[in-house]
């Protein structure tokens, strides 16, 4: 099914981002989170960072699943 293809997802996001042209967040919480595109950019890079940390950790800690049986 085409709806689950990442490209469809991407187009949907870019369309979604346009909402920011029409919406004013008002007062910021911390870190100027009322700026244009704060939450999308934050969400994207936070997740990338988490994935990178996980992969680095996997390099040291990942073992074969029979590890404890042997």
């Amino acid at each position: 099914m085409n709806i689950f293809k990442p490209t469809t997802y991407l187009i949907f996001f870019i369309a979604n981002l346009l909402l920011y042209f029409f919406y004013d967040f008002g007062k910021a919480h911390f870190m100027n989170d009322n700026l244009f595109g704060f939450y999308p950019v934050f969400g994207f890079f936070a997740c990338l960072a988490l994935i990178i940390i996980a992969k680095v950790l996997a390099y040291f800690l990942e073992r074969n699943e029979k590890y404890y049986d042997s």
Binding site: F4, P6, Y9, L10, F12, F13, N16, L17, L19, Y23, F25, G26, H29, F30, M31, D33, F38, Y39, P40, V41, F42, G43, F44, F45, A46, C47, L48, A49, L50, I51, I53, A54, K55, L57, A58, L61, E62, R63, N64, E65, Y67, Y68
Partner: protein, 563 residues
């Protein structure tokens, strides 16, 4: 007096479990009947009658030293008891086809003791039911009847007995220190407060021993995991709210748990272990809320616990359905099930959206209270990390779980939706998630403090939606790196599963050497009988390691009391 005892909501449940042992083939009816009776008792306590019960049931059994208070009603207790009973009934519906009356009776004991902990008014009652809960849950894990469950259950029991002893040391210290064992908020840095805190945190899955959750829960049967996920950790959350609300160190422990849960879940291959890691992650949010300790934060914690129990139950039900139908439990083995199991898929997606706090689901109206409380208290770093955590939840549970199980590559597995009652249980749970999300006032009305929080502001809806959608984008961008392999990730349990063995084999060699020497001397005495017992104990590596640790803790305790 006897009539009053029957008004405790746990009593019908305990009686039900006894009845199951007698009438083995009526286990489903007895389970659901006793839970419904308990729900009736719980509701009869609210309203105008409330005060009378409060007065007559407080301070009941007098001993010479300490009066035990087995029933102390609070709004928070009502909230927790309500959600415990709701998920119990849904879980019992789901486990209708599980043919194991022992497991069903044990689950009732487990639920009853969890409810008794909630309503206990002093530390001794609290401790007794706390331990019954640990033992009952161990038997529930064992009742899956696999080799893995036997081993995991033993490790689970050892960890919890260890935690129980630490808690007991704290309670004994508290008794000596203050002569007052009423369950209350403990502040201050007396040593026994730390012991109690550690004992409770261990049950909440706090570092460094978080690994017992993903180690043991997924080894339960497809139905019992739902119960296991709901009670132990959330009872610990309840205890933390009552005893340690506002203890600042909890904020950082909670943040660690949030990150730990996300990162380990990303690397995990077993479906239910992903969800078990996400329990640690979600409890982390609650622990942060308890650490912040403001009224908004505690309301957020209580409502998050309420919402979490239901959507986590739902997610584990959908995982349980997949396991029940396909007999496969790894991401690498399943995939493309959405066409074959449409109801399960939809319910799992609703659960996944709830856990990631999408607007119109129960997670949205509860988790944001904790985030906003951190903002109100001016905790910038905490707010920042909670935001990262919120994005990460969508990554590991909100999208990874449904994607790898129901979509991804089609593995050509034969499957269909599970039988009727399992479907009903999932649909009802999913409906509850949406109901609470759409009408938050249902939940806000029963929170411990007055709730004036408004979740549906345009700011909040837009920011949360964007945060989550773009977290999803990050998932698909890096999908290639997230494909699972047949691996496990080492955790703290390595120390007692591998390193413990090395230490133990060393000590057993040492003991054998001593044995050899003593045998020469003690040949005259009937040695063999003792040798058998001793050899058996030495072979139980984990037990001997844990006893060593406990002895060290006791030694420490004795040293503290030397003046």
């Amino acid at each position: 007096m006897i009539a009053e005892i029957f008004l405790h909501p746990a009593i019908p449940i305990f009686l039900g479990s006894l009845l199951i042992f007698v009438l083995k083939n009526k286990d489903n009816i007895i389970s659901i009947g006793s839970l419904l009776l308990s729900l009736f008792v719980l509701f009869s306590m609210t309203g105008e009658m409330n005060l009378i019960y409060n007065l007559s049931l407080n301070g009941s059994i007098d001993s010479s030293h300490q009066s035990l208070n087995y029933f102390s009603y609070s709004r928070l207790g009502f909230l927790f008891c309500l959600v415990y009973l709701v998920i119990a009934i849904l879980g019992k519906l789901f486990s209708m086809y599980r043919d194991n009356y022992m497991e069903k009776a044990l689950v009732l004991i487990y639920i009853g003791s969890a409810i008794s902990v909630i309503f206990s008014g002093d530390f001794i009652t609290f401790y007794i039911f706390w331990e019954i809960m640990a033992i009952a849950s161990t038997f529930i894990i064992w009742s899956a009847n696999t080799k893995a469950s036997q081993e995991a259950g033993t490790r689970y029991l050892l960890i919890h007995l260890f935690g129980g002893i630490i808690l007991l040391i704290g309670i004994v210290g508290l008794s000596f220190g203050t002569q007052d064992l009423t369950l209350r908020n403990l502040q201050g840095s007396d040593w026994y407060n730390w012991f109690i805190l550690i004992g409770i945190l261990l049950n909440a899955g706090a570092p460094p021993l978080s690994s017992w959750i993903p180690d043991s829960y997924p080894e339960g049967s497809y139905s019992s995991t739902i119960f296991l996920s709901a009670y132990t950790t959330k009872t610990a959350v309840f205890a933390l709210i009552v005893i340690f609300a506002g203890t600042k160190i909890l904020i950082y422990i909670g943040l660690y748990m949030i990150m730990y849960g996300i990162i380990y879940a990303l690397l995990e291959n077993d479906i239910r272990r992903i969800l078990a890691y996400s329990i640690v992650n979600q409890v982390g949010f609650m622990v942060v809320g308890i650490g912040i300790g403001s009224e908004l934060a505690l309301n957020g914690t209580a409502s998050h616990a309420f919402a979490h129990i239901i959507y986590k139950g739902l997610l584990l039900m959908s995982a349980g359905s997949v396991i029940y139908i396909t007999q496969k439990r790894k991401c690498t083995d399943v995939g493309g099930l959405y066409k074959l199991m449409p109801i399960t898929t939809i319910c799992a997606i609703i659960g996944a959206l709830s856990i990631s706090a999408f607007p119109l689901t129960s997670g949205f109206i509860s988790k944001s209270m904790i985030t906003d409380a951190s903002f109100q208290q001016g905790l910038e770093f905490v707010w920042f990390m909670l935001l990262v955590g919120s994005a990460g939840v969508f990554l590991h549970a909100g999208i990874k779980f449904p994607w790898f199980v129901f979509f991804n590559k089609n593995k050509n597995i034969l499957a269909q939706d599970p039988p009727l009652y399992m479907n009903i249980a999932m649909i009802l749970s999913a409906a509850l998630c949406l109901l609470i999300g759409i009408f938050p006032s249902i939940l806000y009305g029963i929170l411990p403090f007055e709730a004036t929080y408004i979740p549906y502001t345009a700011n909040h809806v837009i920011s949360q939606t964007h945060l989550l959608l773009f977290s999803g984008l990050a998932f698909f961008v890096s999908l290639k790196y997230l494909e699972r392999k047949l691996t496990i990730t080492l955790d703290f349990d390595w120390f007692y599963r591998k390193a413990g063995n090395i230490i133990n084999s060393f000590t057993s060699y040492f003991l054998c050497a001593i044995d050899f020497m003593t045998k020469k001397i003690s040949d005259l005495i009937s040695y063999d009988r003792f040798a058998k017992v001793e050899n058996y104990l030495i072979k139980q590596n984990n037990i001997s390691l844990m006893i060593t640790v406990i002895l060290i803790v006791f030694a420490f305790f004795i040293l503290l009391n030397l003046n």
